[in-house]
């Protein structure tokens, strides 16, 4: 028994602030998805239940709703920890960086992989609060290494930038292929 106890106590986790917000969001999401099951999946007449295209979405969403409901219940019954909305604000802060990422992905086909990456690394380093020349040089160098490694050496499938079209003939071909 005592061994079982030790194991259990080692595995337990406590709830962080903001848990209940997540619990509500995920429950609403699963109920919404479950409510769409008639529109979004098909049921073939005469087919076996387990082979229905609706079967697995129904099982997974059904159980997800049940689990979410229990998770919410557990959250609601647990002692409230202060700092719920501060925590939610920190989630929202992540959207800024998600935006940076998408903007970067949007610009690469126009600006070319090498120039966009170097600019992005420097801009984001500045945003992250680095001001020293050492860190900014490190950002430039690391981004060049990444570009050379993936595009020139590993030949990973990345688009060549439109901006390279404006370069003089010999250089253009070189940049299009390697950077």
């Amino acid at each position: 028994m005592s061994r079982v106890k030790t194991l259990q106590s080692l595995f337990k986790r406590y709830r962080r602030p903001g848990d209940i917000v997540f619990a509500w969001l995920i429950l609403i999401f699963s109920i919404f998805m479950l409510s769409q099951i008639g529109d979004q999946t098909a049921y073939k007449n005469g087919g076996k239940l387990f082979a229905q295209p609706r079967f697995w979405p129904a099982v997974s969403l059904g159980l997800m709703t049940v689990f979410s409901a229990f998770h919410l219940l557990g959250s609601a019954l647990s002692e409230r920890i202060e700092g719920r909305w501060r925590e939610v604000l920190s989630w929202l802060a992540a959207f800024e960086y998600a935006g940076w990422f998408i903007a970067y992905a949007y610009l690469v086909p126009y600006g070319g992989y090498l120039p966009t990456t170097v600019l992005f690394a420097v801009a984001l380093s500045l945003r992250a609060g680095y001001r020293s020349a050492r860190m900014l040089i490190a950002a430039v160098l690391s981004s060049i290494v990444i570009v050379v490694l993936f595009k020139a050496v590993l030949k990973v499938n990345l688009p060549s930038g439109l901006i390279y079209e404006t370069l003089p003939n010999g250089l253009r071909q070189f940049m299009l292929t390697y950077f």
């Binding site: 061994r3 259990q8 595995f11 082979a51 969403l61 990422f101 690469v108 984001l124």
Partner: protein, 505 residues
């Protein structure tokens, strides 16, 4: 025997050897930097390996997987910050040893225990493979269905104290996998009329979002921090001698690692806790545990390093990944049309042996590398965390965008990145989503292909293996209920514990 040679021959190529070195030494460094773990690294490198030969790509990923835990022990011991998630328990005894001025002893002991665990795991894998080659063909659709189902049940139950969260996330994973055009009936599922959803939600896009982007967001939104580890002095080989005094603990811990590594859904944490508990119960100095016990350190490091080799068993023999990293590696197999499973042992046994040898070599390379370069590593890990976040963001772009040059993929990945960040901050597990996606796909396909042969539900379990698997499922559920009842009767108060505060690395 000739298969063994064929396996060795596979490794005797300059690109494989290079991949092995890059993977193992890169893995140690990645493991040693708090903030990037093997999951981030493998997720980012995954699309890049698709253009390589299967053996080259797999050796590199396997190298990262097997060596990151060696590196992760360094910051766990020296600065009380585990380098990878599975080194959390190492810091329990390793850091107190550093505080007592025994940092060097703790490090060399951790390396030796890791090596012991790693080699023990591979030894078991090699010894078991003839048995596997016999048993694997007995796995038909229904057996694989049941094994995958068991994996999902176990991954949920393994998250003690968070079963509901793990359950809902695993179900979310299964749901994600159903989105798109159903391959058999050609009907749309949850596409809401969007064409980009018809082809389904790509596993790699989700993996990169949940593991890599979320980590970048996590590091960028948190205050900047520079890990500062002090160099240690002394010969690193001294740990081997000390390990020999604790052979029993090391071997039992490795055995726990092997057994739990083989079972889908359990993995390093369970193995570590069981071996740690075992070591404490049988120790002459149980009071030292948590205060700098060498045995505790050995139990933790030997157990986690035995897991990677063992985790390859269900992956190679059945095509069922037991945890996130092997789930990612599964996609490398699929891209090259090498389908892991019973046929792999019949048709590509040389590849299997090649991977075994790669695992042995990688442990040797890492051990030698660490004996000489520990102090160099303590300097390398001083990367400021926000800078690391910037780099992870740039590298994740390569991973997501190189798949099919799609901006939509980047947006989906960013959305999963935010979800991953929320889960990390709430200390909720991410792995169930990935396993739900992979195992959910297997479950759906295998149940469908088993259907025509089933007249009654009992036909599902009328073969020996399927019956055993079914019994295990029932047993696992029953045992879980029993513990719940016991817990309820004991009126045990809630014990707050932050040990699993490890999703963030």
């Amino acid at each position: 025997m000739e298969n063994l040679y064929a396996g060795l021959e596979m490794l005797a190529r300059w690109d494989v050897v290079l991949a092995l070195f890059v993977g193992s030494i890169g893995g140690v460094i990645i493991g040693a930097i708090p903030g990037v773990g093997p999951a981030v690294a493998i997720a980012i490198l995954l699309p890049a390996t698709f253009s390589l030969d299967p053996i080259v790509g797999l050796t590199m990923l396997l190298g990262i997987y097997g060596s990151s835990m060696y590196g992760g022990a360094i910051p766990a011991i020296l600065i009380n910050t585990p380098g990878t998630a599975v080194n959390a328990l190492t810091s329990y005894d390793g850091y107190p040893m550093t505080q007592n001025g025994e940092g060097h002893r703790a490090l060399s002991l951790a390396y030796s225990a890791s090596f012991w665990g790693g080699i023990f795991g591979i030894g078991c894998l090699i010894l078991l493979s003839p048995v596997l080659a016999l048993i694997a063909p007995m796995f038909g659709s229904r057996e694989i269905f049941l094994a995958a189902l068991l994996g999902i049940i176990l991954v949920v139950l393994a998250h003690r104290g968070q079963i509901f969260a793990a359950g809902l996330l695993a179900m979310f994973g299964i749901f994600l996998q159903t989105v798109g055009l159903d391959a058999v009936t050609y009907t749309q599922r949850y596409t809401f009329g969007y064409s980009f959803l018809s082809s389904g939600i790509n596993l790699i896009v989700v993996v990169l979002g949940l593991f890599a982007l979320s980590q970048a967001f996590f590091l960028l939104t948190a205050p900047d921090n520079v890990p500062d580890a002090k160099p240690v002095q002394g010969k690193m080989t001294s740990g081997i001698k000390e390990l020999m005094k604790h052979k029993r603990v090391a071997t039992v811990a490795s055995a726990f690692g092997v057994v739990l590594g083989m079972i889908p859904g359990t993995g390093e944490f369970t193995a570590q806790f069981m071996s740690y508990t075992y070591a404490q119960k049988t120790s002459k100095n149980p009071e030292l545990f948590g205060k700098g016990s060498p045995e505790g350190l050995i139990a933790s490091e030997a157990a986690n390093n035995a897991v990677p080799a063992a985790a390859m068993i269900p992956l190679l023999a059945l095509g069922i990944p037991g945890e996130a990293l092997t789930a990612m590696m599964l996609s490398v197999f699929y891209v090259h049309n090498v389908i892991p499973g019973p046929q792999l042992f019949q048709n590509h046994i040389d590849l299997v042996y090649g991977l075994y040898f790669a695992l042995i070599l990688l442990n040797v390379i890492v051990m030698i590398f660490l004996l000489f370069s520990t102090n160099l590593l303590t300097k390398i890990i001083r990367v400021p965390t926000r800078f690391l976040g910037v780099m992870i963001l740039i590298l994740s772009f390569v991973g997501v965008y190189s798949l099919r040059n799609s901006l939509t993929d980047c947006m989906i990945s960013a959305a999963f990145g935010v979800l991953g960040l929320i889960l990390k901050r709430l200390n909720l597990p991410i792995v169930p989503i990935i396993l739900g996606m992979v195992l959910g796909g297997i479950i759906e396909v295998k149940l469908r292909s088993a259907m025509p042969r089933l007249k009654t539900p009992f036909d599902m379990i009328d073969r020996p293996i399927s019956f055993i698997l079914f019994t295990i499922i029932i047993l696992v559920l029953a045992l879980h209920l029993r513990t719940l009842v016991k817990e309820y009767r004991a009126h045990q108060g809630p014990e707050d514990h932050d040990l699993h505060d490890s999703q963030t690395r």
